[in-house]
Symmetry: C2
Subunit: 336 residues, 2 copies
């Protein structure tokens, strides 16, 4: 089964991926921070049975007990945004339900009992939301969700109360970053209930000019309205980025993209930071059409496979920093 | 006829080329700085007739009146070391005799009446000297050289008195430059009658770690002894450079060489300075065997063809700096 990120998405010149997350809890059970081991096991199994209830779904979804996985596999899942960094830290009695293409992951006993996450390549909010909603319905039929008429879905953290929905877009905004406009954009969107953050969520730095745009408000707003909001702001950000790209010196853009490509194709050692800087310049070149012959989805695949943990997970052995940086260069060289 | 620098020379990992120059003057005629136009013409023709006196030599040697050449062709000749920068400046009544492979050039009415120059790829002092000596004999048979029993050949500048010989080796010393040892080497050789200078002779900077090692003393020493001196010092410099190369971090050397190659293969604009820095790193990689598939003589050819004036001479039109840097990148990209 090929992974979700190997397909080509809509508006992929500026939108790398779409992510929908729904937070749900089961009525009458304490939030994970105060659950006993026994309660965790019971919730995990209840969700497992609710979703993996026929042969088709048993083929599509895997139930994974997190404490059975090697550290490196878990860190690779964080890199691939399958699980949150918090979920990876303490893994006793935590479980994950993961689809074969890795587009659907359900974290059990993370901050909430259930975190449904759906990912899609490119701009795909409606499709991703429809899929998350379908899974939510499947689970909701069998499980008694903690729900309050006035507040909506109850969640551990009040910022998720209501819809429990977080819709995010991973945007590639190199031209807005260069011009400094990305900071202006961040302060604008915060006024209308959205946020722009670094690659791995709250408090992380933007790597390779990749920014996560997501909704903040979950209370007093419908899921559809939140998504429409995000869509219209994303459209503005995308238009701004495209116009900023057109204003760049096109020859310098081409030179920069090709130099980055030349280094990626020939370097014998590449740190993660340098790799991300270079691949971002190549991505801009491909997205603007000055670099030909490299599909954008190949770039996403390389970014995933060049991750420090994913490199080691694929190599099947732990590597020190130098070994990792050499292996990264080797893989990039062979695949580009 | 392919040019002399397209062949592979001895010890080409450290020695780029060999140059022998003999300064000669004709008795009873003032030195060029005090010659009349008429006297210049007479000397030029006398030398022309002395050398181009049969069909074979007429095929091999071209007689060129310097004031008939476009500026850009002349500047390209300076870049290719066929003529000196001084010879290019004022060109009235100056002439050049040039062999078809450009390995032999005879400047007429430069600082002296006759400057015979022979170039060879790699380390080839004996062969280059033999060829210069043969041409000297041919001319000496027909012309009455200014010669003094006590002083030897008389020259305009006293630093050339005696043998009139300057033997030079163009060395590639990147490892000695990195370690700083090249400065020590320069002060050592100056004590024994040799000098190390930049790429285009006295007072010029070393470009791409290329250094010209040549004899200084011409008085009271035979031609052969001067050449043997140079040979033995060159052997020491070459050995030092090789040992310094072995002491470099071989992996970093490989990474550096390949990154430089990647940039050369992909950049869309390359200044002359950047090109020389990059090609020097590639040359070191090729010379040490970490970069395969590029012959050293191809590198010399690229260095020549990437020269600012040679680029324009080959393009057949004058180019501004940006056009030149783009054309340089294009040519390097196509040829590497």
């Amino acid at each position: 089964m090929s992974k979700w990120y190997t397909s080509c998405g809509n508006q992929s010149d500026t939108v790398i991926s779409t992510r929908i997350r729904l937070a749900r809890n089961i009525a009458g059970v304490p939030f994970p921070s105060r659950m006993t081991a026994q309660q965790r096991k019971e919730v995990n199994l209840a969700v497992k049975e609710a979703i993996i209830c026929d042969e088709n779904r048993a083929k599509r979804f895997k139930y994974i007990e997190m404490d059975t996985l090697p550290d490196i596999t878990v860190m690779s899942m964080v890199e691939r945004h399958i699980i949150s960094p918090e979920f990876a830290k303490v893994r006793d009695n935590k479980a994950l339900i993961l689809s074969d293409d890795e587009s659907v992951s359900i974290m059990l006993c993370e901050e909430d009992h259930i975190r449904i996450q759906v990912m899609r390549a490119g701009l795909s909010l409606d499709e991703a939301y429809a899929e998350a909603d379908r899974i939510d319905d499947i689970l909701g039929e069998k499980l008694n969700y903690a729900f309050n008429e006035r507040l909506g879905y109850l969640t551990e953290c009040p910022t998720n109360l209501g819809t429990g929905l977080r819709a995010s877009l991973m945007l590639h905004l190199p031209a807005l970053e260069m011009s400094g406009a990305v900071n202006r954009l961040a302060s604008t969107v915060s006024k209308i209930g959205l946020t722009i953050r670094g690659t791995y969520g709250e408090g992380t730095k933007a790597s390779a000019s990749m920014y996560q745009l997501s909704n903040q408000v979950t209370l007093g707003i419908s899921e559809k309205a939140a998504i429409e909001n995000l869509k219209s702001i994303a459209a503005q950000a995308m238009a701004q980025e495209k116009s900023a790209r057109e204003n760049l010196d096109q020859f310098a853009l081409e030179d920069n993209a090709y130099r980055a490509l030349g280094t990626l194709k020939f370097a014998r050692i590449l740190s993660g930071d340098e790799f991300m800087k270079l691949i971002s310049r190549v991505r801009l070149g491909v997205a603007t059409g000055v670099v030909e012959g490299i599909p954008l989805e190949k770039i996403e695949e390389l970014i995933i496979d060049a991750g420090a943990a994913t490199l080691q997970a694929n190599a099947g052995e732990p590597l020190d920093a130098t070994e990792r940086d050499r292996l990264r260069a080797k893989i990039i060289r062979e695949r580009l």
